[in-house]
Symmetry: C2
Subunit: 449 residues, 2 copies
């Protein structure tokens, strides 16, 4: 996230952490170059456009601890990072709740051109009331399932613009005849829906991937249905393999119902990694990092995600961790006499490394690689989204120790692909596959022709 603390609460206080330089161009350019050289496939940037003001009823703690605020716009750093790299992909978060699909389609087409086909879109529908208040003049956010209904129509519009407006042969560029575009091959999309009216043609000529690679992370029922229909990459974030496996299988099954093959969706698990030359050195590093964790920072985010103010609940009282239909596993206060599925405290949940998202692996390259392979086998995930503790340190370690080990095992690579989509799906093309529902507008204009 283009902020100080995304999930690594307190780590900005670590003497080697550069996260507080997130406003500078060199921070992003250096990071992208490190990842590109180090063999990473993708730089993923989260985003949110409101301040976290549930904890204590105000944004005070979020500001003090720099939890997801201040925050800058991640789309705007992409072209600089693309210019400094050759193969790295970029997955950028933009909400469907605050944008016009006509203008957002132009943005991603622009970035797909500028990056040479290395852009992906992490589709979110936005959760925060504080964002709704400042952007769309609503006291409370649009209800969850309606946000997904809006998001689906939003995507239907963008599919029409990206796939069904400009035919492949539209670009003539003939200096002799003076015909730049064959206007008969540019089609108005004529979209009239419940939420959007977009009659015209796309503003941008076809880009390498046309549709950016589509990422999604929602875990609710509506979110999973949306993922199954639209997403090419799904983020999962839970340390419990059984929970992840169930989610993976559910989305693959739903994808098949939408006419897609089960392996047309890639699952990336959140993971935290502390790796060094020996297990002992890695453990020492993890212990040292742990000294910088910031419990209150974690509670600020937890409160925002759960909608519950955890500021007055004792951090050492037991809580229950359970799964809901909302976008995160969240917590609720419980009576101590209840049968707890997993008896942990708030301090356990948010106050430690690896406590908040996916699994935590600490060790040398062999140990961590074994752990990742085992987690993948038990869950069915295809890869990992590495949540950093400090930048660039966490990524330097992974590039130095872990990726060479994964390469020796044939588990990392793909850096010969021209586009992000081909990097993630090496046997496919740069374009959305024909079986994907978003490709339907492309088939319609082929049929007209």
């Amino acid at each position: 996230m283009s902020t100080v603390s995304h999930g690594n609460f307190g780590m900005w206080r670590h003497p080697e952490d550069r996260t507080a330089q997130y406003t500078s161009l060199s921070y992003w350019v250096d990071l992208a170059r490190l990842l590109d050289d180090g063999g990473f496939d993708l730089l993923f940037i989260a985003d949110a456009v409101g301040q976290l003001d549930v904890f204590g009823g105000s944004a005070e703690a979020a500001l003090t601890h720099a939890v997801q605020t201040p925050v800058t716009d991640p789309l705007l750093a992409v072209s600089a990072m693309a210019a400094a790299t050759r193969r790295l992909g970029f997955g950028i978060t933009v909400s469907t709740t605050y944008e016009s699909p006509y203008l957002l389609a132009r943005k991603f087409s622009t970035l797909d051109h500028l990056t040479g086909g290395r852009i992906g879109w992490n589709i979110v529908t936005s959760l925060l009331d504080s964002a709704a208040r400042n952007i769309i003049g609503r006291q409370r956010q649009i209800p969850h399932d309606e946000r997904y209904a809006i998001a689906q129509e939003f995507l239907d519009v963008t599919y029409k613009l990206w796939e069904g407006s400009w035919e492949d042969g539209a670009m003539v560029r003939d200096r002799a005849t003076g015909v730049f575009t064959d206007a008969t091959k540019v089609h108005p999309i004529g979209h009239e829906g419940r939420y959007f009216s977009v009659p015209g043609a796309h503003l941008v000529e076809p880009s390498p991937q046309r549709t950016p690679v589509l990422f999604q992370a929602g875990s609710s029922s509506a979110g999973r249905e949306f993922a199954a229909r639209n997403a090419e990459v799904v983020f999962v974030s839970d340390p419990r393999p059984a929970v992840v496996r169930s989610r993976v299988e559910d989305v693959r099954r739903r994808a098949v119902e939408h006419g897609r093959s089960p392996d047309s969706v890639r699952f990336l698990s959140s993971v935290e990694i502390v790796v060094d030359s020996t297990p002992r050195a890695a453990q020492a590093k993890a212990d040292e990092l742990s000294r910088y964790t910031d419990l209150e920072g974690g509670l600020v985010l937890l409160s925002a995600l759960s909608g519950v103010d955890w500021s007055t609940y004792g951090v050492d009282r037991p809580i229950e961790q359970f799964d809901t239909d909302a976008s995160q596993s969240i917590l609720a206060t419980v009576d101590d006499s209840d049968g707890l599925r997993q008896r942990i405290t708030l301090r356990d949940y948010v106050g430690r490394l690896g406590g908040f998202g996916g699994p935590l692996f600490v060790g040398d390259a062999t140990t961590v690689a074994d752990g990742l392979v085992d987690f993948a086998a038990r869950t069915g995930v295809d890869g990992f989204n590495i949540a950093y503790h400090i930048t660039p340190g966490s990524f330097v370690d992974v590039a130095e120790y872990l990726i060479p080990e994964l390469r020796r095992r044939g588990l990392a690579g793909g850096d010969q692909a021209d586009t992000l989509r081909q990097r993630l799906f090496p046997s496919g093309s740069a374009l959305l596959p024909d079986e994907h529902p978003g490709a339907a507008p492309r088939k319609r204009i082929s049929a007209i022709r």
Copy 2:
């Protein structure tokens, strides 16, 4: 403009023109580097988010001749250009009609950070019905004067976010105490207006300029009033010195009524320049360029700007050029027996170099510099916005021949400034001056403190 033909209709057919590569990163990075090295102050990019569909009643001719369509999003190339340059400023066009002020404020704050204070915003209110249909679901654009009322409130919101939300001392970044931001110095703006409700605080910490340098180009009465109240740089575009002088004087006079000093507004005149080592070589180059002008392309833009379909009016019939309250000098059909102020034809008006915007100067460096100096003296403008014929050729010539001559005369320079605002106003600071109406929110939080 991030398109093939902004005003240089037909020039993409010139063998040396690279404009058709506008979708590639290297096109923009190379151009920015050329301008930075060549001593230009600023790269200005226009924008529009609809297809030009008045000529002939469809977008067919606009597409065929590549007139402002296809078009990509200019904001997204800025960071790459900033990373490749040291001093060049960027003036980017964004409309107030289709954006949320809360999100647009974040975008410009982000770019002001990433560029180190080299960003400017060209404020437009958007003219095209085709954009309104696809973005806000309206058949016709919002009426002209209401668009300016929306724009003023939009700016009032962004002034509050940029100048009146985060105090200078808000950023603590103390690793020892764990306080990143002093939350008592971050203020919700509490804006409740006719068009926007934005109660919260800005999302971004203060950037070098806080408010981007504000550009504006409207020439209507509402547009001039808006400029006088808000703009720091005003674009003027007319070859007739008396018309330009009247406009400059009017806006300066109105600025004084808003409590601003008359020289707090810089005027930049559109100009077309063909310069070479000798007058004869320059004239030969102009003659050669003229062979590529595209009359129909010009009529496509003229039709869109005037709202009149000029496709069936004979290009060699006389027309009258007159000034209206709209955003451009436009044309109307007239009876030949009328007393014409200036008897010209459509072919004269749009089918020649220099026919559409500011004055055209052709010659060696001395001749062109003399022409610019004379035009500035007769009009009161402070500088020039050079409309290119071909890229990068037009800029290469200016950098090679003209700028050294202007430097010899002490008329170009300013490249020691840290920020764009200081480059344009060398005796001022990086921030909006206290007398500017947009600085009022800053003074209000100082008073609270």
